[in-house]
């Protein structure tokens, strides 16, 4: 990827982060940490990888995207707005009564949303059903599914992953957002999870989910190989792009007040210009 392209994507991701802060700030509620973390990842997917056009949002052969972590919704909304699925004006009505952009994504209201985002159970099962159905119709579309790392502790996730492997549902690509900071004395759950998925017949990759060059490298490899169920572990340890200061870094749903929103935006502007 050319350096200029990386700069462009970085710039877009930076704008997406500002959108997220404004959305959550104006709504006075909503998750902040996780959407900021996945901004680079979603920008890479929607600008470089996912075949999906705002001009024909219902195209049969478009790639599908299932968001399995509801905390990531603001990032998805911003990315879709910037891809032209709806006016950016909609972002400022996020979570409001009657708004297109509800707290829980509604695919009947908002263009570009392909699937409901479930808070219980694993989104992998929705994505797998979707992908299997497309595959049976010989539709070449791929189904991308972004999951949180809490899936590591879900028995349902592994049951479904095993089924996908057995059925060789080759048009599914799951991306597991890993935001945990490696801590001594806490067992690393990622490595055993990668191992199990490999045993089930999945291709497994890891990449830096905040590094466009790393993401490109990973997708170049997976796109050059024969398709099979694919899992990508995306490390997001340094992806927020801002320091939270008194907004708080631990609670993902800490509310921004107007003052702290302005301060965060100011910091972001400073970084963009710097």
């Amino acid at each position: 990827m050319k350096i200029t392209r990386i700069s462009e994507l970085k710039q877009i991701a930076s704008e997406v982060r500002k959108d997220i802060v404004k959305m959550v700030g104006v709504a006075r509620s909503g998750p902040l940490d996780f959407p900021l973390l996945i901004s680079d990842l979603l920008v890479y997917l929607y600008w470089e990888e996912i075949l999906s056009l705002a001009e024909s949002p219902k195209r049969v052969d478009r790639d599908r995207f299932c968001l399995g972590a509801e905390d990531g919704v603001p990032a998805l909304y911003s990315v879709l707005a910037r891809r032209g699925y709806y006016e950016r004006e909609e972002l400022w009505h996020y979570r409001r009564l009657g708004a297109t952009l509800q707290a829980s994504p509604d695919f009947r209201r908002a263009l570009g949303i392909d699937a409901p985002c479930v808070t219980s159970g694993t989104e992998l099962s929705i994505a797998a059903g979707y992908a299997e159905s497309l595959g049976r119709e010989n539709n070449k579309a791929r189904v991308f599914c972004l999951l949180g790392e809490e899936e590591f502790s879900s028995a349902d996730f592994f049951l479904e992953a095993e089924r996908c492997g057995k059925r060789n549902i080759s048009n599914i690509i799951i991306i597991i957002a890993c935001k945990s900071i490696e801590t001594p004395n806490i067992p690393d759950l990622q490595a055993p999870c990668m191992e199990r998925l490999s045993e089930f017949g999945w291709r497994v990759f890891d990449m830096e989910g905040c590094d466009f060059a790393s993401m490109e490298k990973t997708f170049n490899v997976l796109n050059s190989e024969p398709a099979q169920p694919t899992a990508i572990f995306a490390s997001l340890r340094n992806g927020r792009g801002i320091s939270f200061g008194d907004v708080g870094s631990a609670g993902t749903k800490k509310t921004l007040n107007t003052e702290s929103m302005d301060r965060v935006l100011e910091e972001m502007e400073g970084r963009s210009n710097g």
């Binding site: 009947r108 392909d114 409901p116 219980s120 989104e123 299997e132 049976r136 049951l159």
Partner: protein, 314 residues
């Protein structure tokens, strides 16, 4: 009653549904299990999705199929599907109003031997309370077929409660309409409205014969569509009779009893008596024994109808 023509609604369901398996949007979603699927067990591979052992995953798989334009039929044991996967049904089927049909073979007391954990007598309560969900319960072969036809046309999720108890045909009109929101008259009368569904419709007809001898002319409504509820049909009947008995093989909380009482208390209050399961978990036992034990027979309907008639508007 001709014993040779008796069949359980689950077998009727499998037999009739198999006729539509060649439709483009047809997919059967199930787990590997011991259910007797009749002709459905021979479907082509591309018409079946065998999910993992997780009931939640099965519901979510079906949602994924529906997002791609399919109209899946989920089959599974009621106690597992509804209780373990309630939130998945709610979030992935009902909220987006996807055309997924859930059919359970073990409704009511028909698998009574399996015990309290398997006998789901609050299934219709759970499904009825869920926005966008249609709820239907057939009482014979014709209504099973009619409900399948209505579910095929439905654009939202549907819950169908089926059973294992052999039942006779209540009416011999193959052209009857079983659209959601409707009810069928099994008997016309002017003294008491008996609002019923499923297996209790058969008990209501027996009760009507006895009551007829006592000079009480019973009108029987088979409310196969619990949701949307056939309010206008019920009101038209109750305006004639002035009282109502509700008989269902279900908890008295949240099912047909509640739907009827809600409708009448809001629009046309009249005396209402319930023949249903009290707010309790039931013991294991043969279905017929359990029905006797829990007071779900024609005798209780006779008694309730006599009481309602005595209290009716004059």
């Amino acid at each position: 009653m001709d014993e040779r023509t008796r069949s359980c609604t689950w077998n009727d369901f499998c037999e009739y549904l198999a006729l539509f398996s060649q439709e483009d949007d047809f997919v059967l979603v199930a787990q590997e299990m011991d259910l007797d699927l009749g002709p459905l067990k021979d479907l082509p591979k591309d018409k079946v999705l065998i999910s993992s052992a997780s009931d939640s995953n099965m519901i979510l798989n079906a949602a994924g199929l529906a997002l791609n334009g399919k109209k899946p039929w989920i089959i599974g044991v009621s106690s597992k599907i509804l209780s373990r996967s309630y939130s998945q049904i709610r979030e992935s089927l009902a909220m987006p109003s996807l055309p997924v049909r859930i059919a359970v073979p073990d409704g009511g007391l028909s698998c009574g031997e399996e015990g309290a954990s398997r006998i789901m007598t609050e299934d219709m309560t759970l499904m009825r309370a869920m926005p966008n969900m249609s709820v239907a319960i057939p009482s014979d072969r014709n209504s099973t077929r009619g409900i399948i036809d209505a579910a095929r046309k439905s654009t939202g999720p549907v819950y169908i409660r089926l059973g294992q108890t052999p039942l006779s045909q209540l009416k011999n009109d193959p052209d009857e309409d079983f659209s959601f929101g409707g009810a069928r008259f099994l008997r016309e009368g002017t003294s008491v409205t008996v609002c019923t569904c499923g297996i209790m419709a058969h008990q209501a007809l027996k009760a009507a014969e006895i009551l007829d001898q006592q000079g009480i002319d019973v009108e029987i409504l088979d409310c196969y569509s619990l949701k949307p509820f056939p309010e206008q049909t019920l009101l038209a009947s109750v305006r004639r009779t002035g009282c109502c008995v509700v008989a269902e093989e279900h908890s008295s909380v949240g099912g047909l009893c509640s739907a009827t009482a809600e409708c009448l208390s809001r629009t046309y209050p009249v005396p209402v008596k319930f023949v249903a399961i009290d707010d309790q978990f039931v013991h294991s036992g043969a279905p017929e024994e359990l029905r006797e034990y829990l007071g779900l027979t024609w005798k209780e309907i006779v008694s309730a109808a006599a009481q309602a008639w005595a209290l009716r508007r004059r």
